[in-house]
Symmetry: D2
Subunit: 359 residues, 4 copies
Amino acid sequence: MVKAAIVGATGIVGQQFIVALKDHPWIEIAALAASERSAGRRYKEAISDAQSGALRWFCQEPLVEEVMTMTVQNAAEMDISGLDIIFSAVESDQAKILEPKFAKDKVVISTASAFRYEEDVPILIPGINSEHAKLINVQRKTRGWKGFITPIPNCTTTGLAITLKPIYESFGINAIIMTSMQALSGAGRSSGVIGLDILDNVIPFIAGEEEKVQRETQKILGDFAGSSVSPAKFNVSCTCTRVNVREGHTESVFVSTEKGCEVGEVARAMREYKGSANEIELPSAPKHMIIVHEDPFRPQPRLDRDAEDGMATVVGRIRKDNVLKNGIKYVLVSHNTKMGAAKGAVLVAELLIRDGYIS
Amino acid sequence: MVKAAIVGATGIVGQQFIVALKDHPWIEIAALAASERSAGRRYKEAISDAQSGALRWFCQEPLVEEVMTMTVQNAAEMDISGLDIIFSAVESDQAKILEPKFAKDKVVISTASAFRYEEDVPILIPGINSEHAKLINVQRKTRGWKGFITPIPNCTTTGLAITLKPIYESFGINAIIMTSMQALSGAGRSSGVIGLDILDNVIPFIAGEEEKVQRETQKILGDFAGSSVSPAKFNVSCTCTRVNVREGHTESVFVSTEKGCEVGEVARAMREYKGSANEIELPSAPKHMIIVHEDPFRPQPRLDRDAEDGMATVVGRIRKDNVLKNGIKYVLVSHNTKMGAAKGAVLVAELLIRDGYIS
Amino acid sequence: MVKAAIVGATGIVGQQFIVALKDHPWIEIAALAASERSAGRRYKEAISDAQSGALRWFCQEPLVEEVMTMTVQNAAEMDISGLDIIFSAVESDQAKILEPKFAKDKVVISTASAFRYEEDVPILIPGINSEHAKLINVQRKTRGWKGFITPIPNCTTTGLAITLKPIYESFGINAIIMTSMQALSGAGRSSGVIGLDILDNVIPFIAGEEEKVQRETQKILGDFAGSSVSPAKFNVSCTCTRVNVREGHTESVFVSTEKGCEVGEVARAMREYKGSANEIELPSAPKHMIIVHEDPFRPQPRLDRDAEDGMATVVGRIRKDNVLKNGIKYVLVSHNTKMGAAKGAVLVAELLIRDGYIS
Amino acid sequence: MVKAAIVGATGIVGQQFIVALKDHPWIEIAALAASERSAGRRYKEAISDAQSGALRWFCQEPLVEEVMTMTVQNAAEMDISGLDIIFSAVESDQAKILEPKFAKDKVVISTASAFRYEEDVPILIPGINSEHAKLINVQRKTRGWKGFITPIPNCTTTGLAITLKPIYESFGINAIIMTSMQALSGAGRSSGVIGLDILDNVIPFIAGEEEKVQRETQKILGDFAGSSVSPAKFNVSCTCTRVNVREGHTESVFVSTEKGCEVGEVARAMREYKGSANEIELPSAPKHMIIVHEDPFRPQPRLDRDAEDGMATVVGRIRKDNVLKNGIKYVLVSHNTKMGAAKGAVLVAELLIRDGYIS
């Protein structure tokens, strides 16, 4: 079994890692780390509210009893000697400090954005750009590390990049316009959108989000050419909004393709898309990367976010667009805290284990 | 005083007409009509639930006591002899039958879509295309009517057309891509989206809506050339969705302009837009047709829908778009049941009274 | 295998029956019936929207493919000859006509209220009042039927009666005061509370609900004495409200006990409550009838409604009450469309099969 | 004009004070104070988000331009020499330190709970227990202060105490059982219930709330007997929950009266209740302290919270209760951030000005 630590283990994403790794066939949780405040306490105490005694367990899934008695370490001083992977679920400013420290010796798979835009760092989605994993070798060499850092994309990028990939392969892409209607869980808990703000409302701005989606989509669909990734040449233009939905990002996408294509061809390309190299066999992989509905009332976040345990991206309303050149438009739903966060990062770990990057 | 009837008076839009006409300086409610079931009953009885006695009053505003004792007529047999205007708030299939009957002698201002796409029928938004009112003379002549029919646009078109107008005038428009996040009240009451469906959800389809917006926007911004309106030449491509918001449609708009323009110029053109012919002086007109926010967290439907009593369109997040030629993107909020429905229709009535179409 | 029909199969409760019976070890779906409009069509066609082709499938669970090609019969003329059980999911006025017709020959288990208050009709909750099943023999005899009718309680009664039972057994009950905060799904679909009404709101009245809860709780906890059930002697006083929750009724309960009891004793009595006669071994039964939380922030409908697949009742905040004599107060969450509806009715069928009432 | 400071002016309650005092006929805002971080900055800067520049203005009402250029003082070092009243909108731990300091010389009217339970401190609701103001004299004497402290009640107590008062006066009260369904705005902003928690949910616990309601209701309806208030003798038992409503607390109340009374008598006593001493003439007072609906679907928080600008308490569903001795039950809605917070505190100031406690 590969031995993993979860850093930021008491937060919402950390807990999602705990759920995603429960009964995992290849990976076991060997260590939990968090801030100094939690250090030295049993996990159960560390997530108990001091005043009321209530457990601060944020997942819909039940408590994972197996980790409740584990002692939480101080992330800044964690003993990483016996570990194989470190899953990093900390905020970006913390990630900047902690992740390079860990990466000197160990593999770091991160949900933070801190290193996503470095030249020698891939942003991996297994099945979409698995071949970018080779950039890890460049990174190791350049930085002189035994380990490495691989962040996953921003949760809003994930579904977009996945659904664009078969279009890109089959028809080419000139440009993308996208409006997102994002779920509350993406806002994290400490900086959470409070009920008072979002009730009976839409919030038309999420700081930094649009830039991330635009840049990451180009990088993920870019070409790996020996020592670096050249970003895909299409432009991406987004407006990212927050709506009153608990989980599941909805995106309204308009794509200009190079070749032109019929609605049925796009649906088929998406339905038949299987990834590049049998990623479908990885334990956390969905059986279908993309599910396409004909019913115009789908996808809906509440009905579709959990498809294939939140790992499939669900598409509907594929139609011609008459504004963009060879335009196609559709709507997608992607589970922002499953495929778009911890479980997506676990899928990256599985890919890297299978392909020999983690020994 | 101009004497008005409200047809469909017991429904949600009918009640909004009652509210919009309360204490109106130029227009008084002279008759109420509804289906045969309500005919002959006092208005208060007609909107009382038979079982519980509860009043089915759907507006946030308090009951308008003045109409409670008026007798509701059967719309199909209404005596229109003493009336000047008939406000029609019925469904489209009813409108097809009733409105031409009324229009033989009287002015019909309608929220239904039944006649919007007829060649000799203008879709009026005062201040945006007031000059299209001249098409009324063509209509009267062609059809041999003493009266005429003027529908208002679909509520999703209204805010879009208003915000596009100053852009169109100042910079020209090549094309428009729009994703709407529409409020529940637009769904009407009988065919209402039920709480069970929309809670924790987005519904990615509203039957017929996208076609309406595309076609109406072209017609409203089209040129009136003597005897007909030639639709504006730009294409419009939309995805219309429903979100968990009570009132106020939010729209994420991407526009390709002809000339190119800076963000500041667009903001200024919107802010300074005053309409074509002093429509601002009409009793129900907003003081500012468009309000532009710099705060990136605006507009929000809950905070901005009621601006200038729901008659202003509120815009924010004006930015450059890098996908469309000379691209500009922004977000708007428009009150779908005020400017977008009954009160918008009353504003049309005011324009037509001022300009001599209603005597 | 016992052969069952579902009457009202195209509605929301009917579909919940289909889900509850999928892969059932003892019962198979042998017939589906609905109104005349659906008769003669395949189930899949019968639930397709004529205009859009969208499937009107109301459950969170995926479509049950096995029934999609079954032909729907006209409920009024259904051929019941080969059937053992008829699950009735029709409205109460329909139930009044259809259920006695079926009961002449067959067993009818119903979610409708039509026969709940008849003297010779038990309202069964397996594990709570299984012994009331004996009233079936009286019913058969009195009415000269080969079959019989057993309705389940109103969904708001279910959780209340279950949690009261161990208190009643251990400490006796003088009186109960209850305020419910009920989910939207309980409102049904045709008469559904629309999103417009419940958003940012509480609705303080549900027609008929309070009377049902008061009467049914007394009957369920009443004594079966040979030929009839004498209602329990305590009074019940409720206020039933609707809140913006999709599934899961929350109830705030205040109980006056006869004996007096400590908080810990009540928690223990609830936790250890196992039902009267091994009902726990029935296929749809929860492993724990009642789950008791110490965390004061529980139960919450979103977190607790699905406990043991929606068949457990979840309790928290057990405290002393200082107003009622020997007062105890607590909060419960009960899944109104699982234990409180179709799956609860299937549990009744299982009890009746096991105990020989259905051959 | 009476000169007032608002302490805690940048928070949500502080901003509600600014709104409540805009254009006030008797009181003007002479100073604003907050934490050290805001000290020395213009109010507009103090409420601007450092990163985005967005204004953190939490009220539905528009920005009060008049205060935007006022300089915010450090609350701990505020110059109080020219002031008459200090409205305190700080958290309870801050209030414990700051309020006695201010009260040595000045009148402090507070929304914090810090001093509510002191023997010589009244909890005032004008019209309900205005005569308790006389306790101020005792307080001044005991403590040797020129000024004094008068807190308003917890927002959940307010509506309860108001509706109980006419019952108490006319029929006497033995005991009260209450379940609240409280709005999100009551949770404050820093410790706000986040959207993720409350969406599709009810939270069955609000720390400390139930104890406050029980104790404060007894004190408010207690007798002032020369030098102290003896709490009313009835017991109060509550369960306080949070629901997905923005503003407006809903409470389901069960009351045991001493005398017994008919539903109509209770409705009349509430409707005719006018307060003790012409409080109705105070500028912020509602014209009707209590509004009683016959429609069983009222009160609803969204429709009724704003009655008389949020200063009236709205009651419905008055019925007999058959559990409590001479039992009556009803539902109330009270605006928790108007009558229940800042504007309620301004009403207290008006009472004290009129009656000569503030010179």
